[in-house]
Subunit: 338 residues, 2 copies
């Protein structure tokens, strides 16, 4: 059973365990500081497909295959899958699940989808309805450029505040186990919008959502930033990360700079790899969490992590219609017992 | 607590109650057989907005306003919102929640999203993490035509197998109560694809998914079609409904024609209203359930209903890329005690 400890915040008594996890990525992701963290690298960006959307489906299937192996179970042993992506109508996920055959609950929180999948999956397990659930989320640089900006052939240039969509997927299998990282608390984000209208300023658009969720989580759980080994945001990048630290200082009187890390800044060497203000995309935080952070928790190198999956909820046309960018951040707390 | 009774199928012991519900729609929906079922009608399709996408956001907000009134609570009294729509990146929902301020878990199962929202919301309540949750789903004829087919100005013609996307939204508030319709069991659908490639044959694409979920539900719960007052599919329309009945007969030896109804066929007088093979869209099943079926359960006119929300998981471009149409159906069983 879970316990309500705030509006949208829950403490989990069964504390579902991460039974296994895996990240897969492309060549640029392999060339970055976390190149070692991927179970499989696809140097050929199309993954043998004719359309970028289907290439992303193959990323998801590969991540799930490795995660299932890591957990020592088969797709047939999973009761429910939770996942999503950035492709219109979440079709990378829908097509991936057509072959996996696990009952599907499709989710969308833009780049915060993996945190949402873990949070919903943990609650579903706490309800007692399932034995094991899986979570997967992905993005593909070429699919995202085509859909949100320009096809690659156009040769569009990005301003330095823009972030690079990761070609990556992360997947995790959740269930009951006495060992390994466990999900102890979850929090669902509110849609937050301070009026940023520039789609090349995603970090700035998302930082207030990350702060809102962090502030509520610390209040609801009576914790402080120093209680966590890492407060890990999804893809705030350089600018959003600075803004989150500033917001925490200005509005909460909190110095989070010691504990805060951002998946978008961990994934690439932004300067050397021409990754703008850092990585982004649904697959960015999913891959960094599954490839680097969960293994560190499993190894005992980290003992308590607050993962804040950040998402910018714009569509390709909403900024052109004059709308500012709504954002959201969902939180998942991981702890290890032994 | 919930109890696992099959893979992706759960029996709920708390049986969350529907505390309130409402449907809103457009003029065509008012002119149909269920015109009486709407809490508010928007004769002006733009709802005062300049873009169809934002018009759909206003539909959601109106449905939520009426549902909250019906439940006798405010948005502030709701812990978590579950919902979605067909607009790219689910932006009708994201923008609606920007103003409602309820923590959001965004979902996508195409036209099956409302059933998914009720199922996920019921499980979240069973986990004990929340006091009240809300569910909302919407579609808008003009937004869907623009995004999936042609802008209205083009004057495109639809073949008779095509279905009309409803301009409608449905919303429900779930919590604990001794009276009213309750959710007793839920089942999550698997992605099913028998190879239909014609995007104007959605009913045919979705019927096998509806049958797969119905078959699994009947097996997992040891029930038969006659046990239900209504087996209510989302938007199979004329063709998909015929195919579902044929599949049930051929593969299960079951005659479901007596119990089966389809929201897409209830919403419009298909011949008189030029609605092709019937209504469709995320808002179709959400509005018919909230406007007609839940009130009938509340009044005792119905006592046991199996709602199968059907969704076609194609994107606007996936059929053009040669892909067939994956589909899904999630099930929610409603019962009344008194």
């Amino acid at each position: 059973m879970a316990k309500r400890i705030g509006r949208g915040t829950a403490e989990l008594t069964c504390r579902p365990a991460i039974l296994g996890q895996a990240a897969v990525g492309g060549q640029t992701e392999k060339d970055g500081p976390l190149g070692h963290a991927f179970a499989e690298i696809f140097a050929e960006a199309r993954l043998g497909e004719k359309c970028w959307e289907m290439s992303e489906t193959r990323l998801q299937q590969a991540a799930m295959r490795h995660a299932l192996t890591s957990a020592g179970c088969t797709a047939q042993g999973v009761d429910l899958h939770l996942g999503g992506d950035l492709i219109n109508q979440c079709s990378a996920t829908d097509f991936a699940l057509r072959e996996l055959g696990i009952p599907l609950s499709g989710l969308f929180s833009a780049c915060g989808t993996f945190a949402q999948a873990l949070a919903m999956g943990a609650l579903a397990l706490e309800s007692g309805a399932f034995t094991r659930v899986s979570a997967c989320a992905s993005s593909h640089f070429c699919a995202a450029e085509k859909q949100f900006r320009f096809p690659l052939e156009f040769g569009g240039q990005a301003p330095p505040t823009a972030q690079r969509t990761a070609t990556a997927a992360g997947a995790a299998i959740l269930g009951q186990s006495a060992s390994g990282p466990r999900i102890s608390r979850v929090i669902f984000g509110k849609v937050t919008d301070l009026g940023v209208k520039n789609a090349n300023e995603m970090g700035a658009a998302m930082a207030p959502a990350a702060w809102d969720t962090l502030r509520r989580f610390l209040e609801d759980t009576d914790t402080k930033p120093g209680d966590f080994d890492v407060i890990l945001t999804g893809d705030l990048g350089e600018i959003g990360s600075l803004l989150l630290c500033e917001l925490a200082q200005a509005e909460g009187g909190l110095d989070i700079s010691g504990a805060h890390k951002d998946c978008g800044l961990l994934l690439y060497d932004t300067k050397a790899q021409d990754a703008g203000a850092g990585g982004s995309g649904v697959g960015c935080s999913a891959a960094v969490l599954c490839g680097e952070i969960l293994p560190a928790l499993r190894a005992g190198a980290l003992r308590r992590v607050l993962f804040l999956g950040t998402g910018a909820l714009l569509s390709a046309i909403s900024p052109l219609q004059g709308e500012s960018i709504p954002a959201i951040a969902h939180g998942v707390e991981f702890t290890v017992d032994n």
